[in-house]
């Protein structure tokens, strides 16, 4: 008989990351389009669905509309039913103290009533910001086997990159599988260990409740990485590290977003999207109504991912195109990621451009610089922009969303400039 779920999964999807700037001007990072048809949060949601974990809460406060539209009723991930569901939990007012979510831990703490109502045996906390494929049943099994209070999924990173993450030292208790976490540093200036936390945590509920209460009472910062994990290690809790060996992509900066996108391409893509079984909500933006991609008689397409609803009459190389992109004759799109409904005008040229929804590029416009894409920074264009005919915009430029025509009235915008 189907029992009530024993695991409650919580996705931390509220954050806006300043480094992604214009892409997150109007949406949380978890709702940023990714992979030609999906959103970043589709990765953890699809992982949950495939792991059979279908009771999910999403904590969100930054411009949630795009996220709410995307999640819908959760049916896209089969999370709709008697014991299945997705609940989006925004900050709310109550009799007691009310505030915005002051951090990831505070967001969970403010929703303890929801969590305790479901009375789970294990709480799985995930970030909505990462690109990876993981069977959560394995870490949950390890967590139970170890009778751990908290188990953290970790990925080995080079020591010189460790300062960007929360990093753990894991002992040899279970070899390649994992072991006890013996020390933990959050974004250390000088890292002593290099197993980076993937922001995938399994918690024993009572332990989590206690620590969140202490954190709320005593600390002035409310983050899992900075506050809760160190408190676990300072106390006499059983904290384990579960070692993950697959691909883990992050999208904190535009160039990381670009690189993670490019990891979907090439003869041996690191993101094996066909095998991962990524699901998205095709009702969002009525993606399901798009007709198949139409390729014109003089088009050329190489090493690219292109979804339904596009019309390609020019050349597309090493690029990812979302539904509704029109590449007109003579245009060249290289090393770029174009979100929904971009129009690339005749004889224009895009090199290493990341362009948000509803951008039109005028005839003969040149953005970015040709050549080795790794040698220069991406040019990023915010949504609802009209790029004028014949303009030249250098590499690494940033164009804010919805610029007025006079802000783009110059014939050349030099490399690296920010237009806002």
């Amino acid at each position: 008989m189907k029992q009530k779920p024993k695991v409650l999964s919580i996705i931390l999807a509220g954050g806006r990351v300043d480094e992604l700037n214009v892409l997150t001007a109007h949406r949380p990072k978890s709702a940023v389009p990714f992979g030609g048809f999906a959103r970043v949060i589709d990765f953890p949601l699809s992982n949950l669905m495939q792991s059979g974990l279908e009771l999910v809460a999403i904590l969100s406060q930054y411009r949630s509309f795009s996220l709410i539209s995307h999640i819908g009723i959760g049916g896209a991930w089969d999370m709709l039913g008697r014991y299945r569901g997705v609940s989006i939990l925004p900050p709310s007012q109550g009799f007691g103290q009310s505030s915005w979510y002051r951090g990831s831990a505070d967001a969970v703490f403010q929703n303890l009533d929801f969590i305790q109502f479901h009375n789970p045996e294990t709480i799985l906390i995930l970030s909505g910001d990462h690109v990876y494929h993981m069977d959560y049943r394995e870490i949950l099994a390890y967590h139970r086997e170890k009778e751990a209070d908290c188990t953290i999924a970790c990925l080995e990173v080079p020591l010189d990159k460790a300062h960007r993450f929360g990093v753990a030292e894991i002992d040899d208790e279970d070899g390649e599988l994992g072991g006890r976490v013996v020390q933990y540093q959050e974004k250390p200036v000088e890292a002593r260990c290099n197993w980076a936390s993937m922001t995938v945590y399994c918690f024993r509920p009572e332990v989590l409740y206690d620590l969140l209460a202490v954190n709320a009472r005593e600390d002035d910062s409310f983050e899992f990485g900075r506050n809760i994990i160190p408190r676990l290690l300072a106390g006499s809790y059983r904290v384990y590290g579960y070692k993950f060996y697959g691909y883990w992509g992050y999208t904190r900066t535009i160039d990381e977003y670009w690189q993670t996108s490019m990891d979907m391409l090439g003869p041996a893509p690191k993101i094996r999207i066909e095998e991962w079984g990524l699901r998205t909500n095709l009702d969002h933006r009525r993606t399901c109504d798009c007709q198949p991609l139409k390729v014109g008689p003089d088009a050329a397409i190489h090493n690219s991912l292109i979804y339904n609803g596009c019309l390609i009459e020019g050349t597309v190389e090493n690029s990812i195109l979302f539904p509704g992109v029109h590449v007109k004759p003579g245009a060249m799109v290289r090393d770029s990621v174009l979100f929904f409904n971009n129009v690339v005008g005749r004889d224009s040229r895009l090199d290493k451009v990341v362009s948000d929804v509803n951008v039109s590029f005028g005839h003969g416009a040149h953005l970015g610089e040709p050549g080795d894409p790794l040698a220069k920074r991406a040019t990023v264009v915010g949504w609802n922009n009209q790029i004028p005919d014949g303009i030249v915009i250098g590499a690494g430029c940033t164009l804010y969303p919805g610029l007025a025509p006079d802000q783009l009235s110059r014939s050349v915008i030099p490399a690296g400039e920010v237009v806002r």
Partner: protein
Amino acid sequence: MSWGDDKTLVLLLAGGVGSRLNVLVQTRAKPAVPFAGIYRIIDFSLSNIMNSGFSQVGVLTQYKPLSLMQHIGTGEAWDFTGRTRGVKILPPRTGSSDSDWYKGTADAVRQNIDFIKAYPSKELIILSGDHIYRMELDEMLHFHRRKRADMTIGMMVVPREQIHQFGAGIINSEGRIVEWEEKPKVPRTDLASMGIYVFDTAYLLRMLETFRDDLDFGMDIIPKAIASDQVFAYPFRGYWRDVGTIQAYWEANMDLLRADAPITPAAWGIRPNPAAEGRPADRTPARFTGGCTVQNSLIAAGCIIEGTVVNSVLSPGVKVGKGATVRDSILLHDCVVEEGATVDLAILDKRVQVGQGAVVGSGSEKEVANRKQPKHLYTGITLIGKEAEVPANTTIGRNCVIAPYRKGGDYPGSNIATGESV
């Protein structure tokens, strides 16, 4: 708004066998035949109904209805779910005295009089689920009301040499039909019936009850209605195709590829139902590898193109391997064309496997018709049935038919000559 007397009920006739579509209708009804990559033929009618603002629909099925029923599902894809919205599948029933298999269009409607009465309506629209077109049915309804007609027939101008396939009407200066000929041998008009009717519901019920032995609208009911009542022709001027033959099906798919394509499903507001395909959202963007060549084609999500695709329509999940070529062809869902294989002027049903180095559509004798079914295949198109395998290095000629589910052992040799069937 609630269900009131001024409501319009729609009946969609989806029972047709469409036998000239050969192996494509061996496992499904004609309205369920896939079209334009991600659609089925019936999506055009269902979307026209939705876009015209009608929301109570009965779908009359008879022949191999399973894929059709699964495709329509709850009707949610066409917004047919809600308090006053719905789509009902109406198969033939036994039990009451005059129920039996549907013996004709009028008979099918007569056997569902209980459904018609259960949803009281002022007018009833009857149309077929077999055609590729975009039409504003609400405009036709307004025309019907303006003319105070008992019945209105959607009609279009066709070349005179094709009129023998249609019901033909002769109209007076007001647009009233004064003479009717069903499939005339000698053309006297170029105005052809599209099989789309608006009836005053009460009038239709009276006709069906008065002429209890009449089985068909075109043959029986319409001539009587014209003789004594107000029957008007509603003129339609647009793209309309009956894709009931292999040649017409192929040509209509090719029409999609033209720069000025006369068929634009998305712009027409045609909705598919990807959810009914199973694992719908698992279709990832189409992947094009380095070194592939794609020209003048329609490529659905989930395809992986490593070889060459020219002038072709590919449904979701088709794989074209390195060095393989697909030209002037239609490949339905999840076909695989392995390395070095060639598919030229062919229609491949779902999940066909073309082995390494095989050739489907070989030789220049495109005019040598299929021996068994010369009226189905006579222009060079070769047909491969659902889930059939073409073994590696096999050569198949023009106008050939490979039946569904055929595997390597079913082939008489590695060369299937033009016009032969397996």
